[in-house]
Symmetry: C2
Subunit: 108 residues, 2 copies
DNA sequence: ATGAAGTACCTTGACAGGCGAGGTACTCTG
DNA sequence: CAGAGTACCTCGCCTGTCAAGGTACTTCAT
């Protein structure tokens, strides 16, 4: 993985929310999906991931519940809230704008 | 300006280097050019700008010299070094990769 | 049976970058 | 002479990342 975290910083929450819009999920799975989607180029550090969950839940953008799996390790599932959806939509616009702005600043 | 700083974080150094590749410049002017290029949508906070200069100079990516202006406020000019040019080229590639990765993570 | 590897979660403390707030010093214009 | 503009700088807080460490369960090969 060659991506420095500072390039992803500012997208962590957004990326997690994008996954939760697709379906409820849990930490470990989200990270695996991200690794898959990027062909192993990127993955959150666990500490980063779980601190993001805490932040998002406190902000009311996601809620969590324990999975009722009888076997295997317990899983804490997360679901996106309506505010989360709204926040995500807004963050998408920000991203498109940021791309334009950064690209324009990197040219003569 | 709606851009959150975390979206720019990771691009600060890169943006400054891009300006210095175009021509030697100084803090105040760089910020004005950036404001111009983005139609006022973005501008560095001064503290951010000057701490970036310090960081870049310590890293050997830029060098500074005092402008010899007789009138007006003194200006500290910055010039990019060969290492700076190299670092910039590398950071451009990182950026293109980051764009692809982030975009791919924001879709189902 | 035992140990390694995989799944799955969590916390602590350090560190780096952004930036609000404050400051200095000079020039120009009304 | 005051205020706005140019131009630089520092201090200390805040936030997000992450290395390091931990817990607990399951599966599989030895």
């Amino acid at each position: 993985m060659s991506l420095t975290s500072d390039l992803i910083r500012g997208h962590t929450d957004q990326i997690i929310l994008a996954r939760l819009i697709a379906q409820d999920s849990y930490g470990y799975e989200i990270n695996k999906i991200i690794a898959d989607k990027t062909d192993g180029d990127y993955e959150f550090k666990e500490a980063t991931l779980y601190s993001a969950f805490r932040r998002l839940e406190q902000a009311g953008l996601i809620v969590s519940y324990w999975g009722d799996s009888e076997q295997g390790a317990r899983r804490r599932y997360y679901a996106i809230t309506p505010q989360g959806v709204q926040y995500y939509a807004h963050s998408l616009e920000d991203w498109h704008q940021a791309k334009r702005i950064i690209d324009s600043l990197l040219t003569k």
